[in-house]
Amino acid sequence: MNSMTDTVAATPLRNDAAAKMTAREVSVFYGAKKAVDSVSIDISQDNVTAFIGPSGCGKSTFLRTLNRMNDTIANARVEGQIVLDGEDIYAPAMDVVQLRARVGMVFQKPNPFPKSIYENVAYGPRIHGLADGRAQMDEIVERSLKRAGLWEEVKDRLQDSGTALSGGQQQRLCIARAIAVDPEVILMDEPCSALDPIATARIEELIHELRGRYAIVIVTHNMQQAARVSQRTAFFHLGSLVEYGETSEIFTNPRVERTKDYITGRYG
């Protein structure tokens, strides 16, 4: 195609005025192996950003740099700069526990604590000292469960175990848990890959409702899901950010040959 290239496209949305987080030349190494190669991207406050790409492309690794989850991996090393609202999150003064409250995370497999539904949500606010007394905690739990679209289903059994819920409900419980500490950014790593289509649709609808209140970044293998839930899409390949743009453009008229081959199912 005449305008297509195989080089990394300029990322037109880099200097986004409404950027909540900015990454500049971020590389991640596992020992000597470079898993993410000099990625620069702006994460918008008001949009859902989807990271897509084949397995091993570095999208999940890069996602985890955004709240320093890679710190927990022994031989992982991060280079470059990541800024949240003007603050360098890798600065020595940064409190990582605090950072992970501001930048929450939802994982692939729902992982509620083996405690009551109430306790799953209340745990974060309690350790961060966000609630002043039982009444206020009740309020936070109710609000979080409502925002996660789970309240109506569980309000009469808040003392039941979180692990007794269905997979989709557990995932919404995990979202409620992330929301409870009033984060600014929510990172989701394949949040629906263990869910059936109906539970997936509920999570996607929830993402849509949460948009604007939180900056949301979602990693997904499901391109239809990226197309459905996001406004911005970033395509990763072999550790590099290949193309980043409006979702509607990426899926109808990608600029880079590699992106086109991937989203049309010609990759590999």
């Binding site: 195609m1 008229n253 086109k260 049309t264 199912g265």
Partner: protein, 231 residues
Amino acid sequence: MPTTGHTIKAFDQDLDRLRASIAEMGGLAEAAIAGAMRALIDRDVNAANAVIENDARLDALEAEVERQAVQVIALRAPMANDLREVVAALKIAGVVERMGDYAKNIAKRVHAIEPGADLQPLSLLPEMARITGDMVRMVLEAFIRRDPEQATQVSERDRAVDDFYNSIFRTLLTFMMERPQSITAATHLLFVAKNLERIGDHATNVAEMVYFAATGTHLAEREKGGDPARG
């Protein structure tokens, strides 16, 4: 310009089938234009009837393309250039079916023109029909080959068709003024020329669809040829 095939080969087969159906429609439309003109020149009512009857094939193929395109969208969830191509196929099928209707309309006029009518201005029409038929063939080739260059060439040829139309319009007008007894026949010829001009316009629209499907950008809006009837 397909770089490589899809990982799922049946997807490529679906797209190939869709393109083959469009190619078949194009072949039928081109044959209908040529057949209708031949019947007109020869005043061959049987040949004209054959053109009219064959139009049902085009209608059926249009429905077939629609069925195939909907199926590809539902089952394959095409993206990017694939999606643009399927949407273009859907639109092109509708336009080619219209071209067939114009050819059928030309064929119907063979019955209406009296056997003894003097049709001297007919001399320009075959050449006009040849160019329009060429445009139809070329633009569908461009679609099959995903060739934006050839699509551009087709849209440029439409000007020649418009020029023919204007020239035939004036010739027929003069002819009618000089020989009022020929007005009925000449009016039919005027409609024939108008039909060919419309087919040229449709081929140009298809060229724009082909260009967009292949490149993702729009062919620069060309200056439209003037219609003398619109002043």
